[in-house]
Symmetry: C2
Subunit: 428 residues, 2 copies
Amino acid sequence: MANAFYGQSGGVTATINATAAAVIEAVRAQPRVIEKVFVGRNGIIGALQENLVDITEESEETLAGLIHTPGAAFGSCRHKLQNPSAEHDEYQRLIEVFQAHDIRYFFYNGGGDSQDTTRKIAHAAELVGYDLTCIGIPKTIDNNLPMTDCCPGFGSAAKYVAISALEASFDVASMHQTSTKVFVMEVMGRQNGWIAAASSLACDERGLGPDIILIPEIAYDKVAFLEKVKEVVAHKGFCVVVTAEGLRDQQGHYLSYIDTVDAFGHGQLGGVAPRLVDDIKTAFHYKCHWSVCDYLQRAARHIASQTDMDQAYAVGKAAVEYAIKGLQAVMPAIIRTQSVPYQWRIEPVHISQVVGGEKNMPRHYMSKDGFSVTQAGRDYFAPLIAGEAYPPYRAGLPDYKKCRNRLVERKLPEYFGKKCIQPASEPA
Amino acid sequence: MANAFYGQSGGVTATINATAAAVIEAVRAQPRVIEKVFVGRNGIIGALQENLVDITEESEETLAGLIHTPGAAFGSCRHKLQNPSAEHDEYQRLIEVFQAHDIRYFFYNGGGDSQDTTRKIAHAAELVGYDLTCIGIPKTIDNNLPMTDCCPGFGSAAKYVAISALEASFDVASMHQTSTKVFVMEVMGRQNGWIAAASSLACDERGLGPDIILIPEIAYDKVAFLEKVKEVVAHKGFCVVVTAEGLRDQQGHYLSYIDTVDAFGHGQLGGVAPRLVDDIKTAFHYKCHWSVCDYLQRAARHIASQTDMDQAYAVGKAAVEYAIKGLQAVMPAIIRTQSVPYQWRIEPVHISQVVGGEKNMPRHYMSKDGFSVTQAGRDYFAPLIAGEAYPPYRAGLPDYKKCRNRLVERKLPEYFGKKCIQPASEPA
């Protein structure tokens, strides 16, 4: 009998709490193996600071409501651990905390950087001979983890952007004769076009949805883009553009200037849509409108995909099963066995196969001219947005739950490791 | 027996087609009074150009689906008619078209400018002695029409921004310890803060929802704003700001119209949200994120308010009833008789009482410091977002309908009035 740690890490999603709920429920279903789940307050920082959430302090109603609540119920973080082969003070501290609370199972829920955290902790535990079963759990709206067909969180973001692009196209179609000719919608995706490309699901034979999709994997060619905008406007009277925030020019420079850098060294982007609108207005004097979805697309639990919800829950449940089976340093991956009708299963993959990789969109998901998504791409995306997992409502608003996040009593002295409470470096 | 004209005008909404459906259904229910409805393709421009949609060419499925489809199904326009007492060529043309199609009922669905169109046409018909019953129908997400408690279209936009602000606050709450401290969401509202203020419904005793709301009616005070941001971040660790696009400084200048040029010589286009983020970053170096909702907020039929849907339908139905009763130059207005539980009815008001007026938010709906909404304001907004009028879905996307918009055969020569296809002059 021992306890488990669960942490949420990196940029949050509409469905990460469904994974949390699955982990908590799966542990409770195995009371003879794992006694308690301690949840890190703000992910791994909670472990470093011994800020462990006592979930027995949460009401059953709150825990049941996790499944339909966006964001990270227990707090997330962007924190890069040191390399376990160099300095060791963070790992010593982590092991001390785990030991103090008899934590022998470590579950960490996040994207690529978070899987790296799990890998490092497994390595560090091995180095000092501390018995710790480490399981990574996938989550990222970016959909860029290798070895898994898709990532929990992505399907709901994809559904949100496809619906938004569809709705915006109805709006612009209404207005174009005397007003707006071009609408540009900016979505997330620093390195990959997964989210932007998913908006293609709104395209149909009726001429709705995005006419042009711009992704980071294909360099922005201003001349070709403007030619395409002109052609679409001439043909149908208006043009809807969806662009990823990470769009780059032929020299590889982000169109949107980088003004801050996070803990992992990633620049914070924003503002490609107004840049493109600038190019279009300068060339054609069309009236344009633009939107930047930003957090709204990853927090939009109100229109979560049921497929995404099912998968977010399934990876949490599988993670606990793997731990109980004694698998080490694995991540539950989603394996697609069939697209139509959609079939999938969960399989363990070794975390070392996930870390450091970055799954770009296959080039054949995009048309030859690079502005639209092929049938192969649409076949990939379609099942991921299927089904509407509506939350319950109260007084016109989703009845999202907020955890109390009461902490368990500390057993160790305070930790003053210099890295542990510093915010991500932000030169602003 | 005669025919009716119905037109959609101005910026569109998530629920204007519910009004169209109501007008069409109400006319069909009175086959002994009004024979046919001719719908203007792009509003009044359709009448000028004799581009009249033959709704009998639309399938019953499409007409039934209008009620859950955003945008203007028949096209909208921004077109300002001449003054009927000055030149008359547009009015001569309109009367000719109405005469050619035996149109004796005129329904026009829009905001303040569209009500003005109805008033002018009623006046012009009177001047030339053409018997034409003219009814204005309210619609605007801006909620700024006088004489009506609220405007169809607003409740759904309000629901969208309240839900989005709520969801974003869950996201930022998750991330703030090591990442984003401030999130700024920009919503529509050039002159009025109705939409921005409605986001206050997301605020509750749990500290969620927007912490600061900025509206055009209250001049932006940079010092006070930054002080408030700092205070909120110090108190709860993060801050969510909702701003109306029409925010102005103490001199009355729009913040968003001030262009800046970056180091590369690229003009940074408007957008109040990035401007505010700039101020915050410069002062405090907080990591910030921002979004611009733009058209997404007024097209978001996927999360329409049931109250709004009911009212959008009711004003369309009432308009036809008023016409049949012989009322002239009136608009169905929504009269609130009680807030809790919410009760309302529809009453006719004379269009001359609506035209030219602009309903700002009452000052007492905002707190003394101008940054939050009072209980009086929340009592006003709360019933307008009640209920979720979900559209049907197909393959993960709303099953919105697109009209064929086949035109009836023309009876008149083409019209070359110089104004009729020019775009309305508008700030780009």
